[in-house]
């Protein structure tokens, strides 16, 4: 291949990845907006707009938040879930804004995933408004169980809510005809990452997915906060 090989596309890739990485990209946690309707307003974000502001604040090394601000605006209809703009990799390896999407298997780690060391430099400059005193989270903290079954068997699960968010979903029993590995950990992780009951159907495990869904809905119905205004 020597002699006639052109390095053009290697160079193009290097430039493309570099340009995206340094300019930053806007992240919304809605991997599909068809699923977005039930995940309005993550409980920990005081308002949608301040969530965007926090993301912009963490995006720039200085006050150059204009580029991320544009991209946030262009996805404004989704921005009230979790929006992250980011640039500048040099100073730290952790990005505080990204922690809004953290998936965890255990409730104990959920509170430790936002890295205080990394956030001192960026979050402190964004003057976060104080959270309101009345708990208007969608869900009340605690542990809830749900189960569902159909002709192929049943699924039981335990959901833990921490700080108003779905911190962990654990499949506690699965006696479907199909292996638990079809839906675990893909579906529990998806629910935690997207804070939604609108789960994708796992190819080849439609009935197991249905069981999981109804069990999840049952558990979360017990967790509903009467003060939630969403």
């Amino acid at each position: 291949m020597a002699g006639k090989m052109s390095p053009k596309f290697v160079a193009l890739c290097t430039l493309a990845i570099g340009a995206i990485y340094t300019t930053g990209y806007s992240i919304t946690s809605t991997s599909s907006t068809a699923l977005a309707t039930t995940q309005q307003g993550l409980p920990n974000a005081p308002t949608g707009s301040s969530a965007v502001a926090a993301a912009n604040g963490s995006a720039g090394s200085g006050q150059s938040a204009s580029k991320p601000a544009n991209s946030s605006a262009s996805t404004a209809n989704k921005a009230n879930t979790a929006s992250t703009g980011k640039t500048n990799k040099s100073s730290s390896t952790t990005h505080p804004a990204a922690s809004t999407q953290t998936t965890t298997k255990s409730t104990s780690t959920a509170s430790t995933t936002s890295k205080p060391a990394a956030s001192t430099s960026s979050i402190s400059t964004t003057s976060k408004p104080a959270a309101p005193k009345v708990n208007t989270n969608k869900y009340l903290d605690g542990n809830y169980n749900g189960s569902a079954s159909n002709q192929i068997g049943g699924v039981s699960l335990a959901v833990s809510i921490h700080n108003g968010k779905i911190a962990n979903v654990q499949i506690t029993a699965c006696d479907t005809h199909y292996p638990q590995s079809y839906i675990d950990p893909v579906l529990p992780d998806y629910v935690v990452a997207n804070q939604t009951t609108q789960i994708p159907v796992v190819s080849g495990a439609t009935m197991s997915t249905a069981d999981f869904y109804y069990a999840l809905v049952q558990a979360l119905s017990q967790a509903q906060n009467p003060n939630y205004k969403g």
């Binding site: 596309f9 290697v10 193009l12 493309a16 806007s26 989704k78 922690s99 998936t103 992780d189």
Partner: protein, 317 residues
């Protein structure tokens, strides 16, 4: 996240799977770092891939890509860096392949019935009519303003670029953590970095195009992307013998191979050219890969395997 191997000393392997990009995405990390650090790294990698999906999905009416093609013809639309770079790269490949590869082939993809959103199963139907004669040359990319202008109504499919780009961005995220090794696998677009828990290169199997549970070839690789495109992956629900790899010049499905694999430093490049290789006469496919600096493997319809000359060093037994 699952710690799926026993710990030896303090080096561990961590595996995480999620749904994104129309497939099951897997990140696997080897290192001595804490669980929190690994989780942070995997979360960032996944966030990068979701950002690409949000920008580039053809099946999501709210994606940036969808909004771009629905914008009035002739208007300059500012786009995110991800969408701009994906389009830019796709157009460069289109130019280089003299239009065989073309991101505007999406209208024909819709005709063949590739319209379902992978998560919701809903079909996407478009009110707008794409111009039949539209090609990538009807896309004007304004680099200074990071903006795009369409000169004809058209539809876009970045399927052969976006998944690779997502992998490359995830790789960039994970690289910053200094792990001993890691794997990003987005349904056939794979990048392997560093080494396994045993300090060895990664083993990557090239899926047998007919016997899906088997590998037709096994590679030992480090710090490269391995992307395989196969006609077996997505047959058309509408036309017999048609599938998702289309030649934009003929608007027909490509034939001659069952699969083409490209190996190189970037998944975006390997992804695009593993698709583009299909669009040339079979005898030229490997030469096309070599000309852009990739190694590759083709599997013909009679299961004959051919390799580029530089593949020897990657072969495992």
């Amino acid at each position: 996240m699952t710690r799926w191997s026993r710990s030896e000393g303090s080096t561990r392997t961590w595996l995480k799977t999620s749904l994104a990009l129309g497939t099951v995405v897997r990140t696997q990390v080897v290192g001595t770092q804490s669980e929190e650090t690994v989780e942070q790294a995997q979360t960032q990698a996944m966030a990068a891939m979701r950002a690409v999906e949000d920008a580039c999905s053809r099946f999501d009416k709210d994606s940036e890509l969808s909004r771009l093609v629905l914008a009035p013809v002739g208007s300059l639309v500012e786009v995110s860096p991800i969408l701009f770079q994906a389009l830019h790269f796709a157009c460069e490949v289109a130019e280089w392949t003299e239009g065989r590869f073309d991101p505007t082939v999406a209208a024909r993809m819709d005709e063949l019935g590739f319209t379902q959103h992978y998560l919701t199963g809903e079909s996407v139907h478009w009110a707008m009519q794409a111009a039949a004669e539209a090609t990538f040359r009807d896309l004007e990319l304004d680099e200074a303003n990071r903006a795009v202008r369409l000169h004809r109504p058209l539809r876009l499919d970045l399927g052969a670029v976006a998944k690779g780009l997502a992998v490359d961005l995830a790789v960039k995220e994970l690289s910053a953590f200094g792990f001993d090794g890691f794997v990003v696998d987005a349904g056939g677009d794979v990048y392997v970095a560093g080494c396994t828990e045993n300090g060895e290169p990664w083993t990557v199997g090239i899926r047998h195009p007919v016997l899906h549970e088997q590998s037709i070839l096994t590679l030992k690789v480090q710090d490269v992307a391995v992307c395989t495109s196969g006609t077996y992956e997505r047959p058309s629900p509408r036309e017999e013998g048609a599938h998702h790899i289309l030649n934009a010049q003929t608007k027909r499905s490509a034939h001659g191979f069952l699969s083409a694999t490209a190996i190189g430093p970037f998944a975006m490049m390997a992804d695009a050219f593993s698709t583009a290789a299909f669009l040339y006469p079979p005898a030229q496919a490997l030469d096309v890969l070599e000309r852009v600096g990739l190694e590759g493997i083709t599997v013909s319809e009679d299961l004959h395997v051919e390799l580029t000359s530089g593949m020897e060093r990657y072969l495992h037994e």
